[in-house]
Structure formats: C-alpha cells, structure tokens
Assembly symmetry: C2
Homo-oligomer: 255 residues x 2
C-alpha cells in the first residue's frame, strides 16, 4: 500500500482565534479528500500558534541582564533573546547566529522555536512581531483531532510539526512537536528478523519520520500549504505524545 | 500535487553480485509502476551492501588491543568492535550498548552502520556474518540510477538510506547515506516571506526528509520491502551528494 501526502490548497492566512478544524475541513473539501479511518493531518506549527494567538510584539519585552549578555554573544535582538530565555529550560550552546536551548516542552531546538517570518500582528512596527510555539502542542493536536473526528465520524491522527536543525548534519527537517492519536515511536525490540533468529533492537521514530515527509510536501510553498493530509500510514494508530519521543536527559550523550 | 511513496513488493533476498537495477525493474513492473521523469527510487542500505558483497564473517577478524578495550566498555563483540574501528575515522562516544563513531564516509552513526540482522553469508557459523555499509553509497546510487535511466529513458533520482539514531530524541529515522540525481539540501536563504520583507535563513534537508518518508514506508516489513518508488518530489532534481549534507566538523556544536 502506498503512503500518500497531499498538501491542502488555498488555506487562508490564519489569525488569532480562527477555528482551525473548520478551516481544515474546508481545505479537505477543496482538495476533494473525504476522510477515512486511519488518516492523519499534519499541521505546521505556525498556523497552530497563530490560531492560538501566540503572537508577541518585541516592543513590549524588557530584556534582562542575562538576555543582554546572550544577545551579545549570539548577535540576536536582546528582546528576542529575552523571549527565548522565557520559553526555555536551559541554554545548551551559544555561537554567533545560534542560540540552542532546551525548550520548556522538553526538546532541543534553536531560538526556542520562535519565528520571525510570515508573522504580523495588529499595530506597532510590523517587523517587531514574533510567534511563540503553541503552549501545549499535544493538546493543540488533540483539540483539532477531536473536532475533525466529530465532523467526519472517523478515527484520525493529528500532528503539529516544526523545522528543526540537527547535530552532525546540515539542513532542517520536519520534526514532531505535538501529536494525538498516532504513535511517537514503534518499538521493534524483540521482533525476529527474516531468518527467525536475530532479535531486533530497534525503536523507530515513526512520528518524526512522518513529520519529515509532511515537511517535504509543505515544501517551497510551506507558508502557503501548512497542512498536509496523509493516507496509508503503515503502523496501527494509538494514543501517542511528544514526551515518548524525547530522550531522557540523563541518557543523552550529546548535550 | 501529492507525494506518493510505494514500496516495491516481492523483491527477492539479495545476494552478492545480484544486478540490483534489473531486480528493481522487475519490482516496478510487479507494482505496475511506469517510471516518469522526476521519479526517485529509495533503496535500503542493506540490499545495496549485499549486492556489493559487503558481507564479512567475524571469525576472520582478529581484534586489536584497542578493539578489545572498547569492546569491554561497550559490551560489544571484540571482533565486531574491530570492524567498527576499521570503518571509522573517530570514536565519539562509548557507553554500555553504544559505540558512536564518525564513519569513513563522514557521518556520525552507531556501530559504523554495521548490521547483524537479516545477514547470512556462505559457510561458517551463520550468526557470525555481518554487513558493512557500501564502500561509496553515492557511487552505488549513481550506478543504479544510470542503469534505470538507460532502461526507462527517464530522468531519475536514486538514494541509499540507513536508519540512524539521533541526539536528543529517541527512535531511529531513515537518513540519506548516498544519493544521485537529487538535491541533498535546498537553500532558501534570501527568499522573501509571504509579506515580502523578511528574508528567510533556512536550508532544508530535503534528502533526509525524503529518506525518513521512505523509511516509514519500508515500515514493519522493512526487510521485505527495501525499495520504495517516489513520485511527486516537490523540488527540481539536480546532482547532489552525501557530502553536501554533512555538517563541517569545525561548525558542529555537538561532537
């Protein structure tokens, strides 16, 4: 069976308070997709954050002494740096152009996932608006999922993704930051191999694999196609969460 | 346009010397897929390595003193540890159960990508056979691509992938280790955002995003469906290579 990922065309620019699930239903109709059991919707963080009103105007932010200091070594705006610190548990690395942190949500990412492009709030200098990640992306995914399941009568999965950089390799890849109704990991440990005698030792990051696939489809027009419909996910759906994907800090060899 | 990934059904177990491209053509026919310009074939490392005869019997390996020492701290077979060292530029981390290295090919991975499951050579103890990565996976991809392009008359991409663990997050994800005819990265730096005034600063790891997608499709039956046909890759094809994806060591904050 094939895996098919289809970007929903013609979604409007999302504003605070917009009903995301309703907008997705309209987009699915425009794409002539009728939801089936097992389908998954993947949403770019940006539209979820915007709908949830996570816009902040930097003019309202007073940088702390620590933020000013980190702004110096990273070359970032001190007010943005202050916001990054407020969104984070810890600063992992600082270099000119880079501020790598552990976000409050538990994952490691650059600049606490705060986004500056395609963001414009009401009033003030339009260049001063930035967008924080959703407060609880698992909850965001669950809310959209509940509304879509109610509208369709089908068993679905919903995932919120962002683009993350990586250790060792160049280029960002789509990465799961919130999920509902699909597994974060599939544990193959103990399965036998084809010859029936080697036990496998693999845990597969299926949510992140799907996040990367969906991000690819959002592609060059990512801002214009921030929602992707997925059919043919090859693993059984179950409840999953961001937390299961995060490597416990004490087991992490690369902090 | 949708991205569609289709595993090729019914491929035989690959043996040293097998003509991979011919086998893929048969698999494509079985899947009723006629190749089109822009299609990509993604191959699990395992079938490429097997076809290239990269099987080694551990009984033939004499571990060095350093291998014995690292085998102690990692809990791995000293002969396997010796092979890992021979395949690597440097050892990055050693923990019970883990030996993280920089492979000769330049990427960071566990155990130099040496595989123990679904591997069985001719003679000796069947449990002693392991499989090294292809010597030059870009070249492997180029060879398969040339044969498929000649057979089809179409402009194609071919990629070889493996499952890699990651810093910070649990679960392996499909990762590009060799490519031909498709970009490793797409550089969006300098593109304008939707409002026309923020310049983007993103480089996207499109080959790794596609590798993750294909790995998902190989899925639970990865050993049985080690080749995936891709249609609808949303970026223009061009020549690419593993090297462009690897973060220069001196810029890597997480070694």
């Amino acid at each position: 069976m094939s895996l098919t990922l289809t970007p929903l065309p013609g979604l409007p620019l999302i504003r605070p308070g917009d009903p995301l699930a309703d907008i997705l239903v309209t987009g699915l109709t425009a794409a002539r997709i009728e939801l089936q059991d097992g389908d998954i919707l993947v949403l770019a963080q940006k539209i979820v954050s915007k709908a949830e009103g996570r816009l902040v105007n930097l003019a309202t932010i007073e940088p702390s002494a620590r933020a000013r200091e980190l702004a110096q070594s990273s070359g970032k705006d001190p007010r943005l740096t202050e916001l990054i610190l407020r969104e984070s548990n810890a600063v992992l690395r600082v270099r000119p152009g880079s501020l790598i942190v552990e976000h409050h949500l538990g994952f490691v990412c650059a600049s606490a996932g705060i986004d500056h492009s395609n963001v414009r709030g009401e009033g003030g200098n339009p260049d001063d608006w930035v967008l924080l990640l959703p407060e609880d992306p698992d909850r965001s995914a669950a809310q959209v999922r509940a509304a879509l399941e109610q509208a369709s009568g089908k068993r679905l999965g919903v995932m919120v993704i962002d683009s993350h950089g990586r250790a060792w390799r160049l280029g960002t890849v789509g990465t799961a930051i919130g999920l509902s109704g699909l597994p974060g990991l599939v544990d193959e440990r103990g399965w036998q191999d084809l010859f029936g005698y080697h036990l496998k030792i693999t845990v597969v990051g299926v949510a992140d694999e799907l996040a990367a696939a969906a991000s690819l489809v959002m592609g060059q027009a990512a801002e214009a196609t921030p929602a992707v419909h997925v059919r043919g996910f090859p693993y059984p759906l179950r409840d999953g969460s961001l937390k299961e994907i995060l490597r416990p800090k004490e087991e992490d060899m690369f902090r």
